[in-house]
């Protein structure tokens, strides 16, 4: 089994790009299964089913979607196995981009929208910096100059990634992504680890506190001046 973990900002075109790439794999006789992870709602599952790819939707609800994805990896791989798929594609709606849901032996794909401005690559953290592939979408909406600056910024953050400029509407660049999917490593679940630790979130807010004042909060907390502390027993 090869596992492809695709993360990206909402509306960046993850699904559109994947549909083109997976269709081209299918034409080559290679089977994939898709798990789409979102928070509250998604109808992207139907889009994958339309091109004949087995799809399962996971809604993380109150849990962080990336944590949810990581926690459920074994079940997802088992399910893809049952489908007889060579590739498991996990599309996740990671929200804060501080998480990078990529595991060591997966193919980590970060989809990033070129119209989000040339500073975005500097803002997003491990979700871009630990990816194997950065797919830049919507490049056709900006000038060549802006596109080149955007690409340079991505390489500043992640000098080793492969940059693919893709168009989710026309499918440009998606065959190149399919090519990388084919080349990705086999995942061995027993030894599998995350590339980057998930951000810390161990506090009363995590378990449902709604009061905002400082005195109500316990756990590992960080002040706006950068001071980090543990409050509690």
């Amino acid at each position: 089994m090869k596992m492809i973990i695709v993360a990206g900002t909402p509306g960046s075109g993850k699904t559109a790009v994947l549909i083109h790439a997976l269709r081209s794999l299918k034409q080559r006789g290679l089977n994939s299964s898709v798990i789409k992870i979102d928070c509250l709602y998604t109808d992207d599952g139907k889009k994958f089913e339309k091109i004949g790819i087995p799809t399962k939707v996971g809604l993380s609800m109150d849990m962080c979607p990336d944590h949810f994805a990581i926690y459920n990896i074994e079940d997802m791989i088992d399910w893809a196995d049952e489908n007889g798929s060579e590739y498991l594609v996990v599309e996740t709606a990671g929200l804060c981009h501080r998480c990078a849901p990529y595991t060591v032996n997966s193919l980590g794909v970060c989809v990033i929208d070129a119209t989000s401005g040339p500073n975005t690559p500097l803002k997003v953290g491990p979700f871009l910096s630990t990816a194997d592939i950065a797919v830049i979408t919507k490049g056709d909406m900006i000038s060549q100059a802006e596109r080149e600056i955007f690409r340079e910024r991505i390489l500043e953050v992640n000098p080793n990634c492969k940059v693919i400029e893709a168009n989710g509407l026309s499918g440009q660049g998606c065959i190149e992504l399919a090519e990388e999917i084919v080349k990705s490593p086999e995942v061995s679940l027993d030894e599998e680890k995350l590339r980057h630790s998930a951000p810390l979130a161990v506090c009363t807010l995590c378990v449902g506190e709604t009061k905002v004042n400082k005195k109500h909060h316990r756990g590992i907390l960080r002040r706006i001046d950068g001071f980090q502390t543990y409050e509690g027993e």
Binding site: M141, I142, S143, Q144, A145, E146, E148, R151, I175, E176
Partner: protein, 258 residues
């Protein structure tokens, strides 16, 4: 030195083989791309910009000097052989004109000294002058396009130049074309404008996503092109009058000199 590029045909939107199997464009040639909206003009330009290797949905292949370009040639902006002026009318990057141009110059391995040259050139093409400390996002459509033209001409100075519908720009299109098509370059112009289409040496006619045929500009068309130019200049002079608040009293067709 790039002497020629070759477009090897792929498939149209229906998945049928394109009628034109191969087009060779030589150094110094100006080539047109015409066809109704949605006929695949911009996709063709996109294929050339990426130096596609049967890896786009048209499955076209682009050769440079009869050879396949390397991966590095295709992706590294410092090695890019292609400069493209797309249809975009606005910048989205949140920075000043000066910062933007020096960043782009850095990407392309050009000297940051060319920033002022770009702004000066842009200002010859548009009405209200652009300044280095202007925010990119507040520039008007015409100013943005003028700046994009000047950026392509000076910073992205490449042997292959692709221009997508320059007539929509609200700038002096002939001057812009002259600036972009410098000596010895391969130039491709996507256009709906007969004035520009007839200025080219040959033109590709697009139909439902495929290259339908290649038409050479005939001698008659070349002489007609001169007449069209005069009509165009006449229209431009009227445009300037309207822009400057003058009243148009009468139009003498004889003024066009055709």
């Amino acid at each position: 030195m790039i002497d020629k590029i070759t477009i090897i045909g792929g498939y149209n939107k229906q998945g049928e083989k394109e009628p034109v199997e191969k087009v060779v464009i030589n150094r110094g040639e100006i080539f047109g791309v015409v066809g109704p909206t949605g006929s695949g003009k911009s996709s063709l330009i996109g294929d050339i910009e990426q130096l596609a290797q049967r890896d786009t949905f048209s499955k076209r292949k682009i050769l440079v000097n009869d050879e396949e370009p390397t991966y590095e040639d295709r992706t590294n902006p410092r090695k890019k052989m292609v400069a493209q002026l797309s249809q975009n009318m606005n910048f989205l990057a949140d920075m000043s004109v000066g910062d933007f141009l020096s960043l782009h110059a850095k990407c392309r391995g050009a000297s940051s000294k060319c920033v002022n040259a770009v702004v000066n050139l842009a200002n010859t093409l548009t009405g209200e002058p652009i300044k280095n400390d202007h925010e990119l996002t507040i520039l008007s459509g015409g100013q943005s396009r003028a700046l994009m033209v000047a950026d392509v001409a000076i910073i992205s100075d490449s042997p292959i130049v692709l221009i997508d519908e320059i007539e929509n720009a609200g700038i002096r299109k002939h001057d812009a074309l002259k600036v972009l098509s410098g000596h010895g370059k391969i130039v491709m112009v996507v256009t709906h404008d007969p004035v520009l289409a007839l200025m080219t040496d040959r033109r590709i006619v697009m139909k439902s996503g495929g290259m339908d045929k290649v038409v050479g500009t005939s001698e008659t068309e070349k002489s007609l092109s001169k007449k069209l130019n005069k009509i165009d200049e006449f229209m431009l002079s009227l445009r300037d009058k309207v822009r400057n608040g003058d009243i148009i009293e009468d139009i003498e067709i004889g003024d066009m000199g055709i």
